[in-house]
Symmetry: C2
Subunit: 629 residues, 2 copies
Amino acid sequence: MQFHHNGYVSADPRIQPAAGVGTNRPEQLPDEMDVLIVGAGPAGIITAAQLSAFPGVHTRIIDRRPGRLEIGQADGIQSRTVETFQAFGFAERITAEAYIIKETTFWNPDPQDPGRIIRTDRTADDPSGVSEFPHLVVNQARVIDYFAEFAANSAARTVPDYGWELKDLVVEEDDDYPVKATLIGCAEDNSGVERVIRAKYAVGADGARSNVRRSIGAKLSGDKANHAWGVMDTLALTDFPDVRTKCAIHSSAGSILLIPREGGQLFRLYVDLGEVPVDNGGHVRQTPLEEIIQRAQAILKPYTLNVKDVAWHSVYEVGHRLTDRFDDVPLDQVGARDPRVFIAGDACHTHSAKAGQGMNVSMQDGFNLAWKLGYVLSGRAPESLLRSYSAERTVIAKDLIDFDKKWSSIMAASPEDLEGQEGVAEFYVRTAEFPAGFMTEYAPSELTGSNEHQELALGFPIGKRFRSAEVMRVADANPKHLGHHHRADGRYRIYVFADQQPVGQSKRLAELSSWLMESDRSPIVRFTAPGEDIDALFDVKVVYQQDYRQLDINDAPQIFRPNVGKFGLMDYEKVYTTLGSPDVFDDRQISRDGAIVIVRPDMYVANILPLEARSELTAFFEPILLQQV
Amino acid sequence: MQFHHNGYVSADPRIQPAAGVGTNRPEQLPDEMDVLIVGAGPAGIITAAQLSAFPGVHTRIIDRRPGRLEIGQADGIQSRTVETFQAFGFAERITAEAYIIKETTFWNPDPQDPGRIIRTDRTADDPSGVSEFPHLVVNQARVIDYFAEFAANSAARTVPDYGWELKDLVVEEDDDYPVKATLIGCAEDNSGVERVIRAKYAVGADGARSNVRRSIGAKLSGDKANHAWGVMDTLALTDFPDVRTKCAIHSSAGSILLIPREGGQLFRLYVDLGEVPVDNGGHVRQTPLEEIIQRAQAILKPYTLNVKDVAWHSVYEVGHRLTDRFDDVPLDQVGARDPRVFIAGDACHTHSAKAGQGMNVSMQDGFNLAWKLGYVLSGRAPESLLRSYSAERTVIAKDLIDFDKKWSSIMAASPEDLEGQEGVAEFYVRTAEFPAGFMTEYAPSELTGSNEHQELALGFPIGKRFRSAEVMRVADANPKHLGHHHRADGRYRIYVFADQQPVGQSKRLAELSSWLMESDRSPIVRFTAPGEDIDALFDVKVVYQQDYRQLDINDAPQIFRPNVGKFGLMDYEKVYTTLGSPDVFDDRQISRDGAIVIVRPDMYVANILPLEARSELTAFFEPILLQQV
């Protein structure tokens, strides 16, 4: 966390000085804005939070609720999502209040006495150690709280406008604010009031029954039938020993997925209610709580379950459905025009809750979209950048639906069905990286390089999220996770892994630094606006191979210790070395001849290039960004 | 963090439900209260924060400032203090915004060219690994903010009453509220207004010129002469390479202690201005900033220092002084009556700032005192418990003064003075445990057992702070630091380290559990009030030697899985095992036959006893606590 550099900050340094729209933000929802976000759920609020890092962009987020969400359905937080929380500065705080999943146990009928369940397997939650972050369970209401706090503390001072529901919207391209949205008031003081507001862009994060999706004519398709299960957040006395461990339970009386919840006592039971016939007509949703409890008691035998309190319960009935596109450009016009309206989260994809994926993928939708909107509206990027959102995220959504189909069918299968096939535990371990959120891999595109130079850093697969590693910060001898300094500030990261030359004598590094700082072909020179700090758009860091005690930080080339801010002070937090043990060069298979790793604002590896790359650097950013000088 | 157990908590679980005085707290400073704390600096605010865990006690804290402290002088945070922050729930948050001291470098004149300094040594900050917590630098204003937040979020909803200064106080023992305090208003709306209020107890945390100390007739004694140094919080351009590392610099032009500050740019220079003659008459305090900067520039040669901004500067002139007592009982009446008024922090001890001790020892003063006040005012303990505060803390203050005298004289010595003696770096490493805050060792007393059974757990020295260790929480397979679950909730901890019997077959554990739960000689039975949860005063945890996978938590004796709260739910967070690697039994030299380790509310080891201890347990708590049934 960097502060004080423009003068002393007395209070919480997490509260940014107000700037841009933060200094003159209208308290009431105005008639015109840059971005209208519909829905302050996980997809909407991360979009608002990320956009709040662009204080020149006027973002409003509406929600039909009268105030903050008090209790939400979703609670599974992938490691990838906790990485994302780190970028928004609240990973540690939310982890401290969350349940941390370390193990999953598997329960099945006792072969000796099939009326009783016994524990048959126990697996580590992250057997391959794919992330240094944990897998959490915490209510989505708290996730939203933290993003809302980030947005409110940002320079833009973004806060939700509660009590407005979107009725519909249309796009009128000839207007300066082409998106015309009709809202209906639904709070006490505006109930039934109809208002028309206009925005440059709109984001529909308004859930499975999205009015934005309907307005842009996108279609959901997928399963005809739904699968139902009863869910309850339970406080109970039980002698079932794994009530504080995630469990997949299959018994002759049905199946349960048990998820311990935060706080030490509460746990969630997903009790399978089976496939719902198409002609059920919502009948399954009438299943009384008592019946769900009785089913759970039968499944858990020989253990007892004495329910003391049910904080929340519901009967879910959901099918696997996917929208055909994530924006308002009909499929036959893709590539021919730029989008104005986007949809994200449940508005795009619905599926079972059992793999703990929904909220996570929804947030990555918003994270993917928001920086692109920020760039376009700040004049940093052409409007065509926005085409990449639907292109990138539809693929991810399809993978999600496919994975969830497999997992739900395995969870729904009876013990006999599974005989001779891959078991629940085996499937769980084999596929662990997917539900942890790390299988997202964007295909080569304008934003994502080809694999031409992938071999220079095999541990940073291009198109996948940048996997952090521990390194030594030279200036203060503090070991730091390189990736944890990637804040959700809308900047690209350029990590330069040095060659083996003594620091200060590496000609290749010195020349790269000079070129980046001075050449009119340098992306930094071209795309950083006059008057901005040299690291306003590109945060360039170096990692040397030497022991940190052998370095004088003043020998590092200038680009790695820029003078910034009001006083032109040197930034000391861009020069690193390997720790030696562990060695980032070994662990991430980085060439000892060095490499340049480019990471997008949403933390995905955009490209890998050799230290000599010049025209490649110019060419890579040319179609993405707009020249500023 | 445990919550939801009495029903669902929607918002931040760190905000406790209001209770006791929190439900009817007068907004304005009332005429009568249980505890009056004078001064909302570090010593005062931790006292208020800890007392806020006793919602039946009405605590008020006044300060002459009109609002929160904006910038404070102190900034050094010992590891022991970060442990304390953990108990108050904010160690992670403050660490995230602090500077972390990992190394100290030592600079001395170049023997080849004594007009230039060179780096001569580099030492790890915690060479012996005495704590898992770091050594921090962060402004005292932020420390106070976090304690104030804890107090405000506590059940008692304690908030400071700003704008009141204490004029004097007297004790009138025949009154129900014996402490009569005269205050003067010093905020805009009450300026000059005189008020008399009454309290059962008063705490003077009102600094080096304490009016409370004067009112109770305690005397400061110590050095006649003061030592002076110029201090400045600096933003500068410099080629001195260690400006982000703690440095002790001795040059032919004088000496500097350099402390990097939080935020990545600011650093503090302590520039030595030498011993102040007794007849100096404050002249040294007129030293202009320009002169301090020039001295610093001369000392740092051949490096340059181009000062861009000075956030704060001062000329300190401080001697080593210590009060004769920490309460209002004259030395010749000690043991004959109980105290009513206490002093803490700078009111008791003044010394140099260079060892980074002041704020830390002051907070431990308050932490030591507050739970005792809470116990007495809640009817848990006799008033005589309060005698232990002065008895325990005067010894610590004397050790502090002695240490600081040595460290300041070494820092003030010229390179020639030190020749042939132990060098600065050697002294620093040899004594590292003291400034880290871990040398406090309370002598045997009513509160602290003798060393009769110390050999059962040599790694937990009786009288020293409980040194945490990692163990496995059985219920959810989460590795946890045992000591990090010691919250500042005013409870004693009883850690039972089990013998090697299979869980559920250890007769010694089963018998201990039954005795603790049922015997009328059991401290739990005697001192827990009717209607309270069984762990309301004693938090009893067990650590087994087996692998956690061999345990069924339901085999642990009842005392380790009590039924608590509104629904009588089982607490799952009291049963642990060794991790295997590391093994707490090996690392803390705990007998394989088991041991009972008792830890006071302020985290110090109170006693160690064998698993068979019965009469010893009864006898140990008998003089400290009051029987409730």
